[in-house]
Symmetry: C2
Subunit: 471 residues, 2 copies
């Protein structure tokens, strides 16, 4: 297949896709192998693999510039597939000695990238950024609200965060027993960054009200526009108030690999906990998320349990090696294989090159948009994320609701065509198109083609509306 | 490689393994590709893959009869690897249409196997049984303790479970804000099954004390010995007390595929929620766990949130299709590929054949142990799990602590030799050896070899002790 051949997204309606997936199950053989001839079986296997490969999203297509999931490096996929095929897992060291060793090595390397001493800090890998944020905030709860593990969360506890925090962060207050109402959102500046002065006032007020702070959760970067909170200033405020600082760097963490861009996370080394997804800006397949703790002594605060069939009391030192004492999961995939293999094979510069490349392409898109009167970039890109609107001359005077609906309609038609995959967001209650450049192979030519494709799609829609209006 | 060639477990000390994994990172190239010759790169790639393949646990070895993770069917590994290599993920339908469709088809098929109407019930796939149990119990909390999502868990809430419940079940009380002290364990019978009469008394007492029951969590089966709780009788008690019945069938769920064995789970269709791991007795690679709800109306009770960039308010019906509204994870792997592919290719009878086979082998082991005076089976196997002790004549009169230490020492030496992989457990405060037959290729000859290997290992240990005693 040529670069960019075929559709990005193989669109079918949900109902038809589900019916098709069910038909494969329903029409499966009534008896196993013996009855089926080998040729039949090979043909069916071929059909199954073809179905899987031609019915999904093609993340490696250079026109995939949608959600924050990468065109993973193919060799990382191969390393990950070793886990699939050999079913390498971990929970206790002896169950997956190599998977466990790889995780420890990676956690130490990532801690160093944050700016921590690998002996004083620690962490773990877990299945995705949402579970990672939940794990870190559970640790914060247990450390900062003593007794909450044994007796439940106190009713005066509160989580302080950002209006643009990923939904998993606010969800965690509901999951962890604080209650979803116990989330306080700090005001953001026009660049959608948490305002440290406002944070200071919020913490002072909460303290005056006798509220206990579970954690302050900052964004590096925020999901809607990729804005980085000013971590140095936030850390200073958190230190003054002696509260736990959590940084959700699930997406932006990758910039720590780039000499050019890592200053955007300056101050992250002052956080108590950090979440960093390798399956975003380190370009490995999903899922591989890291939870990192600055203080090693917090590592067993997440849970306080024992299971005799897993944790042998005769070798107590193993709790520090085994993963099960520190993760929500008992059995985990060997999810570090992709990142460890890539890093070992190419060296860490491969991450820097890819990060710098997608950052650059997002910047170029911003410049292209600024050159076009019918496109509006909604912010300068701080990361590889850019939100914008397409407002053709014909809609320049239209009501907001019409322009908003037009963004959604254009996007739906565009992605269902298979030509490009982009996403949408809502900023200040207005609909916007949104791009995350997650493939280092996406070029400036692709970006020019995107603008043309959006225009074409918009014109088709307008023509349809006009025709419908004429009838 | 021949069947059973080479070691099961490639044993190295944790420190040496971690140091080795770190050395690969540290010695990675200082510059990416351009500088490295292709031959060097190919050699390094080969070294990395070899390292991964020769340093772990070989789950496909017929002598792997340890933790409840299977020798996964190789083709299931291939299907799973499609997800690794193409990075197929899901959260919203458009992001992974095929992964989403496959999950819906599987959930419907699994609900039917539980005995439910696929239109009235529903569920989801998640990364492992621990996260699955947490998800189901969070739903139970929100349904049965109204207001707990918004305002936190009430202080009079309690989780009722089983002394042998997996640690993730009791952990959930600590995570979800009830407090780990708010776990009440129901007495078990000599076969380690929850006693329904005792459950009835416990619920009556708790109700009299004004406690609110989050859920009763039953085991199908328990981890230590594979005992199945009497679900019909337990369901009757739960219905009488109008409490949520959760069944952790992570391991035993697979028996629902077997006409011969599914009666052991009779009554499971009366549960409110069920957890069933495909990466255990359905022989697919980790992780692929299902959470199933009898009442479809509970599907959005787990979380109550909105994220504009994921859930498009202009197409509200998609919340039922998209996975993100129902799972802790936002991005998920296409974790259903292995199970769906296997089921589609061979038909569901493949699961029945494998389940019946491993059940039969465990039964044969029990018979072999009963024929040997120096081995003690500690229970009749209800599942493919068997706990036992090796007590040679020389130790027949020894103190319990000596016999316990001997079990641990024999096992440690045996697994580090690479000859067999078995685990250990603690039953009634006594150490025991424990086997889970997770490979349909394990034969009765392997079992005979296991008994001989344990005897040899014990004799070596005794000789060492004697020599040490003589010095």
């Amino acid at each position: 297949m040529q670069r960019g051949d075929g559709p990005v997204l193989n669109w079918n309606s949900p109902d038809s896709s589900i019916a098709l997936a069910e038909s494969w199950l329903r029409n499966s053989p009534a008896d196993v192998p013996a009855a089926a001839s080998r040729a039949d079986l090979a043909e069916r296997l071929n059909g199954i693999l073809s179905q899987m490969l031609r019915s999904g999203q093609n993340l490696h297509h250079p026109h995939y510039i949608g959600h924050q999931v990468p065109a993973s490096v193919p060799l990382a996929g191969l390393f990950d597939a070793v886990s699939s095929v050999t079913n390498q897992v971990m929970a206790v060291y002896e169950m997956g000695p190599w998977a466990t060793a790889v995780e420890h090595a990676l956690v130490r390397a990532l801690c160093r990238k944050v700016g921590w001493d690998a002996e004083a800090s620690t962490g773990l890998l877990t299945h995705g950024g949402s579970l990672a944020n939940l794990t870190a905030l559970l640790t914060a709860r247990n450390v900062r609200l003593p007794g909450s593990w044994e007796d439940g969360a106190p009713s005066n506890a509160v989580l302080v965060t950002h209006p643009d925090a990923h939904y998993c962060v606010t969800r965690s207050a509901g999951i962890l027993g604080l209650g979803s109402r116990q989330v306080v959102k700090v005001a953001i500046d026009p660049q959608r960054r948490m305002d440290p002065d406002n944070l200071d006032r919020v913490l002072t007020r909460l303290s005056g009200e006798g509220r206990q702070i579970m954690a302050v959760s900052a964004c590096a970067c925020g999901t809607p526009t990729g804005a980085f909170d000013p971590l140095e200033a936030i850390a200073t405020v958190c230190e003054r108030h002696q509260v736990w600082l959590h940084v959700d760097a699930a997406h932006g963490g990758g910039l720590m690999m780039s000499r050019k861009h890592r200053t955007k996370l300056a101050g992250i080394d002052r956080a108590d906990s950090v979440v960093w997804d390798a399956h975003k800006m380190l370009f490995v397949p999903a899922l591989c998320a890291a939870v990192l703790y600055r203080n090693r002594e917090h590592r067993f605060e997440t849970f306080q349990q024992n299971a005799p069939y897993l944790f042998d009391p005769s070798v107590p030192g193993m709790a520090d090696i085994d993963s099960g004492m520190r993760t929500v999961e008992c059995t985990k995939r060997a999810m570090g294989f992709g990142l460890w293999g890539l890093w070992s094979l190419f060296g860490e510069q491969i991450f820097e090159q890819m990060v710098d490349r997608v950052m650059d392409i997002a910047q170029r898109l911003y410049e292209f948009l600024n050159d076009q009167p019918d496109f509006q970039a909604l912010h300068t890109p701080e990361c590889n994320i850019l939100a914008f609107r397409y407002v053709p001359q014909s809609l320049a005077q239209a009501a907001d609701s019409v322009i908003d609906a037009f963004q959604r309609d254009v996007r739906t038609r565009l992605i269902q065509s298979g030509h490009f995959y982009i996403v949408q967001t809502t900023l200040d209650n207005r609909a916007a198109l949104r791009v995350a450049v997650m493939n280092p192979m996406t070029t400036t030519d692709d970006l020019q083609e995107l603008l043309a494709a959006i225009r074409d799609t918009g014109q088709q829609l307008n023509r349809q509306d006009n025709v419908a209006g004429d009838l």
